[in-house]
Amino acid sequence: MSDWRYHISHNLGTLTAVGLFAVMFTIYISNHEAGLTPAVATTAANKAVLLALVAMAQTIPVLTRGLDLSVGSVFVLANCLASAIVVGTIGQGLLGCVAVLLLGIVCGFVNGAIVVWGRLQPIITTLATGAIFYGIALWIRPTPGGDVQYDIADFVAGQLFGVVPTALVVLLLVVLLVWIPYRSSPLGRGAYAVGSNEQAAYMSGVPVEKAKIAAYTLAGFLASLGGLILTFNTYSGEASAAIGGTYTLNSIAAVVIGGTSLFGGWGSAIGSIFGAFVLRTIEDLLFVFDLPPLWQPLFQGVVLLVAISLGAIRVFRIRNRLELFT
């Protein structure tokens, strides 16, 4: 089928990220003294899934040619809130989980509403709202601490049937139940259309405003899910500016490594997941090769630079020099 040629070329960015991760992870595992045991996999997965969720969150506004600098803050805010309300019986804990995710949805909706109705630039809007969300997190949890419902936490941070890391299953469910339905709905297509060419999208009858608001709202939801799972890993909440900032910046890096264009209209959240995995594996590689962890930023930078260079190949085909600047 010649269709395959198109499917492959449309997903080249994602496939490249998958390949890169596969190579790096194989090197990691083959140099790990214990090999691929459920415990090793679970440790790796628990760390990677957090960034993967925040990177998925970042992908969606980026697809609309926007950016969400508040994903890290929503992540931290969800963590702080969860450490306060996901407690008690299992039933109460689950109710708390729902409340945390609702808060994420509200945060995302606020971002989208300001960007669309306030007609402000996404980068500055989310910088401001991010600071506000972080402020609320500090208010909820001025000092690190809190608690979390142990049964839920142990389940999510553990393994399913003693083999598969539950966090990975959660991520898979998010892909199957959130990303894929979104991607194949008119709303998701609207996000791509808006990012590809907003004027043309408007002219074609795409509900531009709805698509943008939905994109930021979904980003808020995914980021808060990440914060919730963080709580299950740490059994506590911490309003840390450093964590928020790192997750925001790494999410953008993961989006780029995953082949999503910062100019919008092109890419996939699945690519971003593997982009996040790649970034996490760098850390693990430094560990197994006994290199100082201080080298991590340097290696991340090199990987990022290589990834974006691949995306810049188009420059060689340009005929009008003015197009270099668009």
Binding site: A200, G265, R319, R321
Partner: protein, 509 residues
């Protein structure tokens, strides 16, 4: 024909942008089962008419009626729901998405809230077949298609919306002859099905071949609606030109064929946009580039300034050949080139920066002293230029963005004059500026020419070409189709040349 209810009717419609009237008190009717051609020069109001009819903008005054009932289109989607669908000149396709996605962008087939990929695919295959593009794969990305295919996909997309009134705005400008035939066939089929068609084209033979009715616009007013064959080509051209008061132009010296050549272009080609352009421009000569919009004039100027890559042919300046490798090399030619770009806000000015910084940006090399800039000389040069060009700015440190359009354009011109160019290329320099400034610019151009500078000047305003130029080159499809010298530069000849028809050549009295 009995009095039928028009599919679309405009009653007393006017449209103003700022203080400028784009459309004045227009009554217009389009019926089902009829191909209605809309004619007029650049800026006659055709695009505004279409924008109002398709819901892109709102009329300032007057009524829009669909099937006899007043209707207010707030967006293209509103117009689509009323059955009015437009194929836009500037394409409305989404470049990063597949052909199938694009064809189903509005009215996406869904099943249970999700996009029905199978139905979408089937629709795409059917539509592509209808427009004769079976060679286009539905999963191909639009940005990978050549322009002519993209235009066919655009038309297919319009057909997908099952229009009652289909508006085609210069829809065939990028098409091959075979595709044009196909489009004619589709248009006639649609007419048989009772669809109304508004057809905007500059190509006179297309109008003759297709239209049942034609309406001529000029200066935002409707001039006349007439049936096919009721008017001759010459009469139509006359209607399009009209009798209008022209601006005051500085007196032209008699045409001189013996000027020393400053710029010699031979066989310049670039992709499909420029096809073997050859001409010479003499010292002290103003050469106009005319013709319809988008026939390669812009590309020609960009190519001469070295902006385009992969240009074939040779260019020599003052007898020495010019490397087309970038603006730097053009600016350091024996007779330095300067290009006054089309969009002053994007390519010409740094709007937030001061008048002074903008003025000296291109000539900083000359004002250098050691590692820095000789500020005294800079100030002197800036003041001299502001006085010479009569740039009205509160202060040379004011941001350029705060000046009026006319003064902004003067800053762009002044910026390049400071580099002391020998050859000045201008891309539609008077668009969107007031009459007073226009006249100042005309005088300036004539004075520069008298100093021996060579000016190559593209304008969409025919009157300007006649008033200013010693020689006018008419471009059509990336070729020079006509060269009008001195007294031959009449509006009639320019319009006829632009439309590429051959009516009786008219000699000026």
């Amino acid at each position: 024909m009995t009095e039928r209810t028009p599919l679309l009717e405009l009653k007393g419609v006017s449209k103003r942008y700022g203080g400028i009237a784009a459309l004045t008190d227009v009554d217009f009717k389009a019926y089902s089962g009829e191909i209605h051609a809309v004619l007029g020069e650049n800026g006659a109001g055709k695009s505004t008419l279409i924008k109002i009819a398709s819901g892109v903008t709102d009329a300032s005054e007057g009524e829009v009626l669909v099937n006899g009932t007043p209707f207010r289109f707030r967006s293209p989607t509103d117009a689509m729901r009323a059955g009015v669908v437009c194929v836009f000149q500037e394409l409305s396709l989404l470049p990063d998405m597949t052909v199938a996605d694009n064809l189903s962008m509005a009215g996406t087939p869904t099943r249970g809230g999700f996009i029905d990929q199978k139905a979408q695919r089937a629709r795409a295959v059917e539509l592509l077949k209808r427009v004769g593009c079976e060679d286009v794969h539905p999963l191909e990305l639009v940005k990978n298609l050549p322009l002519s295919r993209r235009q066919m996909v655009e038309i297919a997309k319009a057909l997908a919306k099952k229009p009652k009134l289909l508006i085609l705005d210069e829809a065939t400008s990028a098409l091959t002859a075979k595709d044009v035939e196909r489009i004619y066939l589709i248009i006639r089929e649609l007419r048989e099905e009772g669809v109304g068609i508004l057809y905007v084209s500059h190509r006179m033979h297309e109008i003759e071949e297709l239209a049942d009715v034609a309406t001529v616009f000029r200066n935002g007013r409707k001039i006349e609606t007439f049936k096919k064959g009721a008017r001759s080509v010459n009469e139509i051209i006359q209607m399009m030109i009209g009798r209008e008061v022209t601006h005051h132009y500085p007196p032209k010296p008699p045409f001189d064929d013996s000027r020393q050549p400053a710029l010699t272009v031979s066989n310049l080609s670039w992709g499909h946009d420029l096809n073997g352009i050859s001409f010479t421009a003499g010292k002290g000569e103003i050469v106009g580039l005319g013709g319809l919009d988008g026939q390669g004039q812009r590309e020609l100027l960009l190519a001469l300034f070295g902006v385009l890559k992969g240009v074939e042919g040779t260019v020599s300046v003052d007898g020495r050949s010019l490397q087309l490798s970038g603006p730097r090399s053009a600016m350091t030619a024996p007779l330095p080139l300067a290009l006054i770009p089309e969009d002053r806000k994007v390519e010409g000015l740094m709007l937030p920066m001061s008048v002074r910084d903008n003025l000296t940006l291109a000539s900083l090399q000359q004002l250098r002293s050691g590692l820095g800039i000789d500020t005294e000389r800079e100030t002197a040069a800036v003041n001299e230029m502001v006085a010479r060009m009569q740039i009205k700015a509160p202060d040379t440190s004011a941001a350029v963005g705060t000046l009026s359009g006319g003064n902004q354009q003067k800053v762009v011109l002044a910026k390049w004059l400071m580099t002391d160019p020998g050859i000045i290329l201008l891309n539609d320099p008077t668009r969107g500026i007031d009459v007073g400034t226009k006249q100042e610019i005309y005088r300036l151009l004539r004075n520069l020419a008298a100093e021996g500078k060579t000016i190559v000047f593209y304008s969409t305003d025919y009157a300007e070409l006649i008033g200013c130029c010693d020689k006018v080159l008419i471009l059509y499809g990336g070729r020079i189709t006509r060269e009008l010298k001195g007294e031959d530069c009449t509006e009639h000849n320019i319009v006829a040349g632009a439309l590429n028809v051959n009516p009786v050549p008219e000699k000026a009295a």
